[in-house]
């Protein structure tokens, strides 16, 4: 797969169809992957592909990265789950479908965190999203690399995240509150969750608006709760469960639980799952006169 990927990248850069290929490369010790930006066809061999390619590179397509946008049209190496985020970005008019060349990678799963890698991809080191993945064959791409995957996800989603959500749902209100206050108490307000998220593309985040200060920047329980809940609310109907925020969190806050719960709520209320169709707008940004709820009319 790597060879085909490199060949394609070379071709795209040489023909001038794209100016930069956003992909994965090795770190210095060749033990972890890290994002690379290939602008010279001669450097296309730096691209790698393996189960350590965990990052969702679609974040680099957003307007947060003006210097990358300045390079010119990008091609992006993307797994199915990453493509979901690209789809949301298109539906939210962040760029047009033609503005990006998607090199879709068929995928047999990645590791939850690169540190867990011991040379073999075992189910227990894969995140919940991989166990339930229905996009191992990229659903939107200009070019697909890899053999078609025959994996079919289970009827009912399974895995640690779903089990934990069930356990939290079973708690009473006080129990839920205690659970989340404890988890959020570790937050250090580094905003890695926001920065790594391709759907957190606001140039001025609400937490940075300080006249007045809507969200307290202090890492005390009140500030931490308001930050984490606000971010969750801003992702309702948009989050694709790519898991980047939880992976990036330096203090292990289980943000996947928040996100997957939101996805379930949106699914039940609107029968909508984000990231599958670049032509359908997410429910939170459309108004329909046929809305089944009356309060909005």
């Amino acid at each position: 797969m790597e060879e085909i990927l490199r060949k394609k990248a070379k071709e795209l850069l040489e023909s001038g169809e794209v100016k930069v290929v956003i992909g994965y490369g090795w770190n210095r010790q060749r033990t972890k992957t890290t994002p690379v930006f290939i602008t010279d066809a001669a450097e296309a061999d730096r691209l790698v592909w393996n189960p350590l390619c965990v990052n969702n590179l679609s974040v680099y397509l957003t307007r947060k990265f003006k210097d990358i946008q300045a390079l010119g049209k990008p091609a992006i190496v993307a797994k199915g789950c990453d493509i979901k985020n690209i789809v949301v970005l298109i539906t939210e008019a962040q760029f047009k479908r033609d503005d990006v060349y998607i090199i879709g990678m068929t995928c047999e799963g990645t590791v939850y965190r690169q540190e867990l890698w011991k040379g073999e991809l075992k189910p227990e080191i894969m995140p919940t999203k991989c166990h339930n993945c229905d996009v191992r064959n990229p659903h939107l791409a200009d070019f697909v690399v890899g053999e078609k995957s025959s994996f079919t996800p289970p009827e009912t989603p399974t895995g640690m995240v779903f089990d934990k959500i069930k356990a939290i749902d079973a708690k009473d209100q006080a129990g839920k509150w205690a659970f989340w206050i404890n988890e959020f108490s570790r937050c250090i307000k580094c905003y890695a969750c926001r920065q790594v998220c391709s759907l957190c593309y606001c140039e001025r985040c609400i937490t940075e608006k300080n006249m007045p200060q809507w969200i307290e920047t202090s890492a005390h329980p009140r500030g931490n709760l308001s930050w984490n809940l606000t971010r969750a609310m801003h992702l309702v109907g948009r989050c694709t469960f790519c898991g980047e925020c939880e992976r990036a969190c330096p203090v292990n806050i289980p943000l996947n639980l928040v996100n997957q719960k939101m996805i379930q709520v949106v699914k039940d209320a609107f029968d909508f799952r984000s990231g599958y169709d670049e032509k359908t707008h997410p429910p939170m940004i459309v108004f329909s006169p046929d809305d089944k709820d009356n309060f909005i009319k």
Partner: protein
Amino acid sequence: MADRILKKEDLGRLIASVNAKGGQFIAPALDARQVVFKPVTKAEEVVTDYIVARNSYKELVFPQTEVVADFTIGKHGVDLKGRDVAPQETIVFGARPCEAVSLSSLRAIFTWDYIDEFYTKREDALVVITVACTKADDVCFCTTVELSPETKTGSDIYLKETESGDYIVEAVTDKGRAFIEKHASAFSEGSAKAKALFIPEKIGTIDLKKISARLKDKSHYDDQVWGRLTRKCIGCGACTFVCPTCHCFDITDEGTAFAGERRKNWDACQFDTFTLHASGHNPRHYQYQRWRNRFMCKFNYYPEKFASKGCVGCGRCIRVCPVRLDITEVMEEFSK
């Protein structure tokens, strides 16, 4: 001559003695599947098998958020009352030699032109008990910044693990000696064989002198090398918040229109609002420019201004980075 020993079964006695005398005992312990510095009351909570704790213990002397003043706004103007800091004696056990060095770096900045008592009073009440490293991971790079597990700077007491899990005790400072005297019942005499220390291999391609020389000549400032190496930085504050020497903070007011608190909160040069001017202009417009600042701070501004180190090579920033941006790769580039 007999060595002074802290037996592993006496660690609980030491913790109890510290707590009984009104101090808090901070040690590496498990929290959410990570080893972190946090208050412990029992020896069983203390983790001994770790490389470095996830967090830096700088948060004991420079808290993530603290109230520095209270204010009320009345008819006749603002009434601002400063807070005093009266720190509790705090013992940090299990610090690594690299991060112990960072205290002198923090003190340098917090006493540079203004004596920040919120820092100095806390540091005066802090006793650092270092445990020298018997293992490392592939991102430890203390030897590359001219430190090693044998470095004792910043430690009040320096411990070496023995084969049987006890510690050989060496008092480094007067503060350390006073601490041992105060809690003498926890220490004993004997002789033991120390476990071999693990000295990480120096990264041969890195040369601090060359880095320093190249950074001094500011012509690199707009060099494309910054974009090439650090364009992937996503601009979170994870690296600066776990860094034992990063020290930037922001002052913010919280409360109602009539009364509230003035707080000192950690800030990070990696945030895009860090240098954003009121006019809307941002001198560090792109993320790689903010990253350049972090590197310059550690390897140019700090060494130029102070005798202490800007980077101690603990590797926390590399471990925590969501995009695996490795500071040693940039050091390598600037050693050419």
